[in-house]
Subunit: 79 residues, 6 copies
């Protein structure tokens, strides 16, 4: 990831497969957390909070679903 | 599910029926939880938390609704 | 509902009227809760939790709105 | 509202104006609460809970926004 | 705002610019709070609750984003 | 940002790249918080609340995802 693309790896929503599109959705969701809390040490401390909390795991799923909705449409659903 | 497709079974959003599309939405939602919390033992411990909590059951429903919105569109609503 | 369709009654998103589409949205939302918590007894115990809690009633409304968005589009808004 | 339309007044998403479409979104959101908690007395008791709680007022706004998104599209945005 | 338009100022989703569309999204979100809690005094009391609470500020942002999604589409994204 | 554009920098949803579109989504989300809580001092005080809270970081991600959905569509997904 270059300096120019801190928010979207590769600076593109187009992927070869649905699987890659889904992985991009996960990355894009994580990069928003990264720019909101740029301190890596604090992020590491927070990680167990959501990885061990059912409500937060579900909320992460909602975020990824929303990102993927956009990416899937950008790729015309890989049809 | 092969190594190549950890996030979307079959690496495709296309399904034969609405029922299969809905099942895919459920699976995709669960697979995000799986990659966020890869430890199966911890996931097993967390499971009762959301299966016995009305608020979390509703939140899971919202996630599946969002995933299904994308899948239904990909399949042109099986019309 | 046959064994083949545990998630979408009739295995179709197409309905005759908006009212029927709305009822389908409600059913689809409930069926996700059912497969996440398959134990009918526990579901019965949880029911008062959300039927008597304003925040949960609102959250159920958000789920139904999301399901209905998909169903309405599938039916070209019954125009 | 007849017996046939407990969820969507008039059994149609089509309205003359954006204002009427918005009012329909509010009504549809309320009718979901009504079928989830059919006891009018309990609903009356719950009402102050959300009318006096900032977080719930915001959550109601999110529900109405989602319903209105569907209705506005059904009406081609009243263009 | 006339009696006829309590929910959508001007009774239209069409605006001249994105900025005006965004302002309309904010107003529409606020007007839903107003009809849910019509007592101005109570609304004034609740205001500090959400203006000083990070979680609520974020939730308001989610509502505005949803309203704006509809308005932007109605205006064909002001292209 | 001029007085005329307090909510959308540049008064346009069109950007050159996905990365710039994503940055716009982040800015638009922040500007809603700014007009809801115009006091910069209070905003500064609230900032640690959400930057150090896993649940709020996720909620911010959901807001940005929603804004980006609109922006990406406005730009025809930069295809």
């Amino acid at each position: 990831m270059s300096d120019q693309t801190q928010l979207i790896p590769g600076n593109s929503l187009i992927t070869k497969t649905p699987e890659e599109g889904r992985a991009l959705a996960v990355k894009m969701a994580r990069l928003i957390i990264k720019i909101t809390q740029p301190d890596a040490e604090i992020r590491e401390k927070l990680r167990p909070n959501y990885a061990n909390d059912a409500a937060m795991l579900i909320a992460i799923g909602q975020t990824v679903a929303a990102e993927f909705n956009t990416i899937a449409k950008a790729n015309d659903y890989w049809k």
